[in-house]
């Protein structure tokens, strides 16, 4: 019955989510609510994937700039273990989200190559191989092979970070996801997450005295990570600002943005923005010597949580406008 139709977070409710905004608007008398295809697991997967790729990409940058030595345990061990771990969680979330997880292998055994889900699965598999070889090389005592692995590793990590934009764009009627700037946005989100994770890891893992940590002795690698976190947070916020302030060409995109900013996902969105703001501002103030380094590093968890909340708002809002 109409009075018994499904409601709640998992459903796209009927009609215009912005309610009737015209006296000439038709009144919906009967409709059927639809399940939102991708729930929180897909939102979280974009975040875990960002960590998995960002840690590797930022670590590569530190090594290529000579800020971190190739013998550093961050590069040898922390990078493949953290990236690999988060990539495993990413895969676990993807399989968990399937209605037939036992058929997961069909993606590899009978791929339909136009699907970005297939392309993404093979890209992730390739990136997993790079991380596994990186770990094995470290275990075998090599310090040079990991540098060579960067040649396939960096492009594979970037592709892993951004392919989701193409996956979302295949949902052609979800207008908010047809954003040509989503691939670079995902790339910067990945760098943001990578620097935010590596900051505390670098401080904890290195043989630094507690006093040095407390006083915030600014080592170059810490400074660089703080800069990356501050800059990527600023880019992230600017791109969101452009997304929500520019008038979108279709009613569907406008409604999806409304759902994200003012509708059912507004709490995640605004808390996410607020935390990202602090997550970027604290590192910036620290590198400008306006606050202590430990306080700047405290921005890292805020940035991580902020992006997680924003991802949920963005992924869910894209599916929140009824199409039927």
């Amino acid at each position: 019955m109409w009075s018994e139709q499904q409601e709640g977070a998992g459903f796209v409710t009927s009609g215009n989510p912005n309610f009737n905004n015209s006296s000439a608007a038709a009144l919906l008398s009967y409709d059927v609510a639809h399940s939102i295809p991708w729930d929180w697991r897909v939102s979280l997967y974009t975040w875990t994937k960002g960590v998995a790729t960002g840690v590797y990409l930022v670590a590569c940058l530190l090594v290529l700039l000579g800020v971190v030595d190739v013998t550093n345990s961050i590069w040898l061990w922390a990078t493949p273990i953290i990236s690999g771990g988060f990539l495993a969680i990413t895969g676990g979330l993807l399989v968990w989200d399937l209605e037939h997880p036992e058929r997961f292998h069909l993606i590899f055994t009978r791929p339909q190559w136009r699907s970005w889900l297939v392309k993404g699965a093979f890209i992730i598999a390739g990136y997993t191989l790079v991380l596994a070889l990186h770990f094995i090389a470290s275990w075998a005592g090599s310090i040079s092979f990991q540098r060579w692995l960067m040649i396939p590793g960096i492009p594979l990590a970037i592709l892993t970070a951004i392919y989701t934009a193409y996956l979302f764009a295949q949902a052609k009627a979800r207008d908010m996801w047809q954003n040509p700037l989503l691939p670079p946005h995902l790339f910067f989100q990945s760098a943001l997450l990578g620097s935010a994770v590596l900051l505390p890891v670098l401080i904890i893992s290195e043989n630094t005295s507690a006093v040095e940590r407390f006083l915030g002795f600014a080592r170059p690698e810490i400074n660089l990570l703080l800069w990356i976190l501050a800059i990527t947070s600023a880019i992230h916020l600017l791109m969101i600002g452009g997304e929500v302030s520019l008038t979108h060409p279709t009613a569907h995109a406008r409604l999806a943005i409304w759902e994200m900013v003012s509708g059912r996902y507004k709490n995640d969105f605004w808390f996410g923005i607020l935390l990202s703001l602090f997550g970027g501002a604290l590192p910036l103030l620290a590198v400008l010597n306006l606050i202590s380094i430990p306080l700047g590093v405290a921005g890292a968890p805020l940035a991580l949580i902020g992006l997680m909340l924003f991802e949920n708002a963005y992924v869910q809002a894209g599916q929140s406008v009824p199409l039927a």
Partner: protein, 174 residues
Amino acid sequence: MMEQSDPIQWAKVIDHTRCIGCHACTTACKSENLVPLSVTRTYVKHVDIGVFPQARRAHQVTRCNQCVHAPCVTACPTAAMFKRADGIVDFDKSICIGCKACMAACPYDAIFINPEDHSAEKCNFCAHRIDMNLEPACVVVCPTQAILVGDMNDQDSYVAQIINRDTVAVRRPE
């Protein structure tokens, strides 16, 4: 010399001005395809327009539109959603992994996960009936002939005549 006929291209024309909102198509589809409760392959949406006494109710028969360039087919990672040579967008439940990419890609919210077998499904034109030269269940049961099925390449078919003669529209051309 015999003229080679064009291949069959099935099309469905829905005349919403004829629809009376009886939901016979909804129930016939559920019965024919054993569609469980809580999900539908087709249903009728109602909207009220105007203010009494100048009010009327409009109906929309809502279902898969068998897109020519179906986004669900492109998005499906295992080709469980596929397009037949005769234009029907069909599905193979035995290879559906339940990733819901087709649901996200559908421009009509017309695909759902069957809560009993956990695979994606939608209106497939009653392909099993079409293949036996039977009309889809919704077409048979519609009391006002608001739902019509025919071969677009057969100029004698009623559907082809409507498409070529009257004003018709695709709701969301891909």
